[in-house]
Symmetry: C2
Subunit: 241 residues, 2 copies
């Protein structure tokens, strides 16, 4: 009875399918998450991950891209990093009805749109470390997303997705430190990044940027590489979960 003769003969129950987005950014040395405040029950007044229903003619990915644009107010979200995390389908996760949600993780570079765009109840950036209990099972989704992003920094060039088009190695290092919550040795980080071909490429025009005091730093762009071999592992926490 696993594969029924025809789907219409099978007494399956239809589910609502939604997408939920864990959108991260690194701003001023802190990890921030895009959240919306719920207006009605259940969980009225609580913060929740932005999301919405998957429409009849779109995939979960398309719904996620659409929601990303709507919630951030950014018109051109292409170029941002968006990846599927996993699907949460526990029967009781929404008390009103059976809702299956496909969770996504997205990364935002700093510069644009300090807070929401034109809509009424737009989303806001909150510090990852100062987030109380979220609505539904969004705490777990957010924790899974954070772990995934942290892990991907180790073996992919994903960190540049948190940076503006041109950035210093110090800014890139701060992305790692902020997401991982661990300080890194600056010369060693520099050596590793520059030794990985295609991770970053220096902006040729001897361009330099100064955010304040200290020696001006060279500017880099994201390179063509997508993966890191060998990986850039976080400081030894023996058994990682």
């Amino acid at each position: 009875m696993t594969v029924p003769e025809g789907y219409d003969k099978y007494a399956y129950e239809p589910f609502a399918v939604t997408v939920d987005l864990a959108v991260f950014t690194v701003r001023a040395g802190t990890l921030q998450v895009l959240l919306v405040e719920r207006g009605q029950e259940p969980y009225a007044g609580r913060w929740a991950l932005p999301g919405g229903f998957v429409l009849p003619d779109e995939s979960a990915e398309e719904a996620a891209w659409r929601e990303l644009a709507e919630e951030t107010g950014v018109t051109d979200v292409s170029g941002l990093h968006l990846e599927q995390l996993r699907t949460y389908s526990e029967p009781g996760r929404d008390p009103r009805m059976r809702v299956v949600t496909v969770a996504f993780a997205a990364l935002f570079p700093d510069a644009p749109v300090p807070h929401g765009g034109g809509d009424a109840a737009q989303a806001q950036w909150l510090r990852f470390n100062a987030i109380g209990p979220l609505a539904f099972d969004h705490d777990r989704i957010l924790a899974d997303a954070h772990e995934r992003v942290g892990a991907k920094l180790e073996y992919t060039c994903l960190a540049t997705s948190f940076c503006p088009p041109e950035f210093t190695l110090g800014e890139l290092q701060q992305v790692y430190e902020t997401v991982w919550g661990t300080p890194l040795d600056r010369p060693n980080f520099r050596r590793k990044v520059l030794a990985t071909p295609g991770f970053v490429e220096q902006v040729p025009g001897a361009a330099r940027l100064t955010g304040g005091r200290g020696k001006p730093a060279a500017l880099y762009r994201a390179g063509v590489a997508t993966t890191l071999h060998p990986p850039l592992l976080r400081p030894t926490m023996e058994g990682r979960p």
Copy 2:
């Protein structure tokens, strides 16, 4: 309009939600996949991944475990490795109706149940390399599952899930070689595995097993560790996709 005032006011379309399983095993030095032959249109006569609908009162994970037991005919599937892969939701992936499927990857040790159990159209093991086009988008799901399993062998102790309770290091190495499709250097593999604390532990009673000719090998059990630090990387294919 992203988060409606109430779900019942929102014109969402309900979807059917299914699970699909990519179940792997290593038998006789080949990678094999559990498949079922479709009996009716669409894709009648084609092979497909085992799967089925998520029932109203169960999560996708529970449905996957249930299907795993049903399709393999094995009563006790606890202890097997089963993990969620990702969700496939393209609108046209099932020509009959809108079906969103949560895909899982599962690993089977060799020994048990050479072919299906008691049901009528039971599943069969087919060589991974000799699989023609599958039904629906199952080729892509299977490819994604294979890539995921291969990647997880690098940084987890997952390979022991392909082995019987007691195994030789040669058998463990064959798991890696079969999944990756690459030969490995035997002394180096041995050194790496034994140098990782908690990966395997030797069966104390000087127990030895011989499958035929050659020096008898020591027997090992899976250890307590779950992750590999540092990872056991596949032979250098510079940029991995």
